[in-house]
Subunit: 343 residues, 2 copies
DNA sequence: CAAAAAACTTTCCGCGCGGAAAGTTTTGAG
DNA sequence: CTCAAAACTTTCCGCGCGGAAAGTTTTTTG
């Protein structure tokens, strides 16, 4: 371990007895050199502890082996979880990950992508804000950087989209709820920024109509990312106004549902199925907290692992295809109904 | 906007009529050139849309103007929130932010720091895992990179620590609970990885003893980061075993408390103060969800903003001091008791 | 074992910028 | 208006690595 003054690849070439260009090849892809050479390099490597200068590398390389990850709101544990999964898969594949959050804000989203662009990433995994995104900017970004959109779609933008099948989500929840009790009312924000929310509302309508039932949509005010608060305050108001004609409430997402459950608790309404309960409540997304709400929340779960894996895989495909697919690829994952106590 | 072939600073010098070295100065610090020159550059800048190559810049610069942020578990909204705040303050100060999560794992923490080291950041804000951290590695990292430790301390490591005063936290909660009802039992994980947890337990003991009361500590099994689950499962067990001699439970942190509340709900125990309630429950941290638990959780709040701000400020001081303070600086923030319905 | 292929070495240049040195222009205080 | 200080320009070199070209060695194939 006499790591004296091995600062450059030249230095390391000298002490390891391998020529600099071969070392260069090795550091870009260890598989690209002969096994015997690789062994010699790796032996020297743990004697001298040298690491190539990342800036000098990326300055000249075409592919920087960096993957950008942009999520709309990192504080939401769902995105935290997704980011975590994706990051680890990138690392395993030998890429570095650069993580950015849009903080729910249009300008921040642009800033993140701008930072990312200057990093010249091999590819980007982007979950856009949705309605608040600067569509034109993002479209032009996707033109210059291989980008896969995930979780929330932006139609026509990017070479691929990987997300959940909102139809499957709502079908399952509505079907279950109507089969086991009164038909559900749909509880949501008036102006959701999330395209998934809009798709879910439309699918709720369609599903109800196809069942010959009257859709009832209860919309509450509120903007921003404090969904629990919005669900809580809007829930109190809706309950007090008796806005729900049936005893079953299907929330657009779990965070809203958790807020709504807090409102029910506040008003002394017992939530759950069976006698002795005033209301049934269900959500969508299987938020990590929904397992520990009171009562635990019946919801429809994403397969986060599969989604993350597929998104990463699509991006790697895209990178290998030189940044272009023939046509936009869309991968949707079905949902899994998760029964708990609330409905 | 004829941004044709302005790829290098040389190109931009030509079209802007400013010499390359002056441009170089400008991009490192706009204040370092004369106002009139700055105006000329900025005028040219929005005509030609040039941005210096970040890799070429950082290759030669001493300070990369990058701040590394490492948190133990990004999926925890508390850290998400802190990371968000810190990131924005760095951006305002003209630094880029590189965000990493240790994912609760020793190896990942080392990997994050290793990645960071190769980025040659101006400074690093690190919230270590705690008991699971490789103390020696982190200490040596702090030797080579200006580092401020925050939120959870690692004694003697890093040039500065910014966090919360756990004594103040526990003092306030214990004092309030004893004053308004039966004295609290302390509910926690058996082997907390978080140094804050350990400090809180010790302070609970001391505070109780100083009040002439017998401390009662209920420890539950479980490891990892699923605190709600641990609180829920351990809570069920403890309730069934009648492990709490008083009707008041003080949880080491809010996530544990949220799990415990779910256990209480499951067992049909009404939580809250006043008659008609079986149990009082309180937590620490003011987790974003604790406002919407059932019932809403009485807790002791961090001043996240101040903490983040102070951590960033300390780091900037440290960077300006050339990476060394005379002696280790410790900044602690007191807590703010936040009364809600649960106690 | 010979010939072809693969892997390696040597040499050279370039990437886009930082920074030093020396000379020139601009600024502002008296 | 004068002159020194401040700000700028010109010129040059270096950072650490990527990558091409041409030559040499090793491995593979029949």
């Amino acid at each position: 371990m006499d790591d004296k003054k091995i600062r450059t690849m030249e230095d390391f070439a000298e002490v390891s007895g391998i020529s600099r260009p071969t070392l260069s090849k090795y550091f870009q892809d260890p598989e690209s050199v002969r096994q015997s050479t690789r062994d010699r390099i790796e032996t020297a490597l743990d004697s001298y502890d040298y690491r190539p200068n990342i800036f000098a590398m990326n300055q000249n390389r075409k592919l920087t082996r960096t993957i950008g990850i942009v999520v709309p709101y990192l504080t939401d544990p769902v995105f935290g979880e997704i980011a975590r999964t994706i990051e680890q898969q990138c690392l395993i594949a030998g890429f570095r990950a650069a993580l950015f959050s849009s903080h729910g804000d249009r300008e921040s989203e642009i800033e993140a992508l701008e930072s990312l662009r200057s990093l010249r990433p091999s590819g980007v995994l982007l979950s856009p804000l949705g309605r608040f995104s600067d569509r034109d900017y993002i479209a032009s970004f996707c033109e210059s950087v291989p980008t896969v959109i995930f979780d929330r779609d932006m139609e026509g933008v990017g070479e691929a989209f990987v997300g959940s099948d909102n139809r499957s989500f709502v079908n399952q929840s509505v079907e279950y709820l109507t089969r086991t009790g009164e038909p559900p009312c749909f509880f949501e924000m008036k102006n959701p920024s999330n395209p998934n929310s809009i798709a879910r509302r439309e699918n709720y309508k369609k599903t109800m109509e196809s069942l010959g039932l009257e859709p009832v949509i209860v919309q509450v005010d509120g903007s921003g990312w404090e969904f629990e608060r919005i669900g809580y305050e809007g829930g109190l108001k809706a309950l007090d106004e008796r806005a729900f004609p049936t005893n079953t409430v299907l929330c657009s997402n779990d965070r809203l549902a958790i807020g709504f459950l807090a409102a029910c608790y506040e008003r002394g309404l017992r939530v759950g199925r069976g006698s002795g309960h005033a209301l049934r409540v269900a959500g969508h997304d299987d938020h990590p907290q929904s397992r520990f709400s009171c009562p635990s929340l019946t919801t429809v779960a994403h397969e986060y692992d599969k989604l993350s894996e597929a998104a990463v895989q699509q991006l790697f495909d895209l990178i290998e295809s030189g940044g272009r697919f023939g046509e936009r690829r869309v991968t949707l994952f079905p949902a899994r109904l998760t029964l708990r106590s609330s409905a």
